[in-house]
Amino acid sequence: MSLETWRTVLKFFPDEMRVLLSKINSEIGSQALEIRWGIHRPLEIVGNKINQIISSDGEVVTDADFGCLLNERSLKKLLNALTLGSMYAMEEELMQGYITLPGGHRVGLAGHTVLTDNKVRLLRDISTINFRIAEAHIGIADEILPRLWSNGKFLTTLILAPPLGGKTTMLREIVRCISNGVPHLALPGLRVGLVDERSEIAGCYQGVPQLDIGYRTDVLDACPKREGTYQLLRAMNPQVIATDEIGTVDDFAMIEDIANAGVAFLGTAHACNLDEARQRRGLRDILEHSSMKRIVVLNGRGVLPEVF
């Protein structure tokens, strides 16, 4: 992440917290992917290669007891600053456990859940937050893009990576490239339908994508994968449908339906490698029986992905 993004992120925090965060070493700030904090929990900066506890002076400490703790009053202030004092307007997002901010950043929240018919209706008494920093990584797919195309058509592809492995970032970049086309690789632009179930890929804020996903991409934000996929097939005439985190038996049927409609699919799944993916029933079906043509395995940020 760039230092500029880190500075942008700080603007979302109220004064006293912004002062503390701005004291953090810029090298740590520029590597941060998540800011985790909670009531009576120390401030933690998490990145791909870092996991640092921060003291109230903005210094890195090893002992959690010396970390800067958050009290209830400060958390209330922080939530007020992050929601513009409008929790009611975030109701649907809160049911999913997060809110999306301008710039596509997402704040994950945990606290007391209120259930109706065994479904989370609302989240109250919030006690922890996880500020997930969004940033586009233009160019990270350049190496693998030519292998995902054949005769001007995009091949159905699955991206595998462990948590924090950069799946969503890679998916977003591939979607952008498919949508805009890549002239220097002679890849034409295609219409992409993106089902962004958790507002993570396009980072939509009030329905408008905050991250670059290409100008031929139609987004269904906060929409369940299955419903969204069929809606896009009916309404938007996509050439590629993309979505995040597949792996169930239902997803297998969905991918088959997409292929039967003559549309390519691009998705991601949690798994460190192909062997681990095959151990999950839904994923095994997708890998062995579906029309999946390419598997991209990410081995962590900065490491060249493998394509099968």
């Binding site: 603007k11 979302f12 925090f13 109220p14 004064d15 006293e16 912004r18 209330k76 202030k77 007020n80 600053a81 992050l82 929601t83 513009l84 004092g85 409008s86 929790m87 009611y88 307007a89 109701e91 901010l101 301008p102 609302l122 109250r124 009030q206």
Partner: protein
């Protein structure tokens, strides 16, 4: 002749003071009516639950005809931004103070402050329930204020005139 002019002036003056005093009762009714309109707009904004409070405040400011309401709502909309240190209840308190025009009573203040305590911090259903209750209570206050105004306007007018006569009598005794 001069005495007569003086007497007329005194009676006019005290009567005018009485009428001005009576106008304050009507002013409370007007401010309460304005508040009810504002809360009605707020209710609509919240029921369409994608409208954030700063946008709701801006809409309320645009719809209000009262300059005090317009300015204080606009200011609150500007202050309530990402990273803001001001809480909604603090901003709401400012709006209440700036628009009261020194005519609201303790019961009106406590009702309006209660809105500031819950505004924005729960789900739509809860917000609407509480806003409905607040509007209902303000309606009660308004009914009381209207009846007070009707009674006291005439009384204040007469009192002003009567105190003018009294003053003249004391002066000429």
């Amino acid at each position: 002749m001069i005495r007569l002019c003086g007497a007329v002036l005194i009676i006019f003056g005290t009567s005018a003071l009485g009428i001005l005093h009576a106008a304050r009762f009507h002013e409370r009714c007007r401010v309460l009516r304005e508040w009810m309109a504002v809360l009605g707009t707020l209710k609509t904004a919240i029921s369409y639950n994608t409208c954030l409070l700063p946008d709701a405040f801006t809409n309320m400011a645009l719809e209000s005809e009262d300059v005090l309401f317009r300015n204080s709502l606009k200011k609150a909309a500007q202050d309530l931004k990402y990273g803001s240190t001001h809480s909604v209840s603090e901003l709401w308190e400012n709006i209440v103070q700036q628009t009261s025009n020194n005519v609201l009573k303790a019961a009106d203040f406590s009702e309006l402050r209660r809105v500031g305590m819950f505004l924005g911090n729960s789900d739509t259903h809860d917000q609407l329930e509480k806003l409905n209750l607040a509007i209902m209570n303000l309606q009660g206050n308004l009914a009381q204020a209207t009846s007070d105004a009707a009674k006291r306007t005439t009384l204040a007018g007469y009192s002003g005139f009567a105190s003018g006569i009294m003053l003249l009598l004391l002066m000429w005794r």
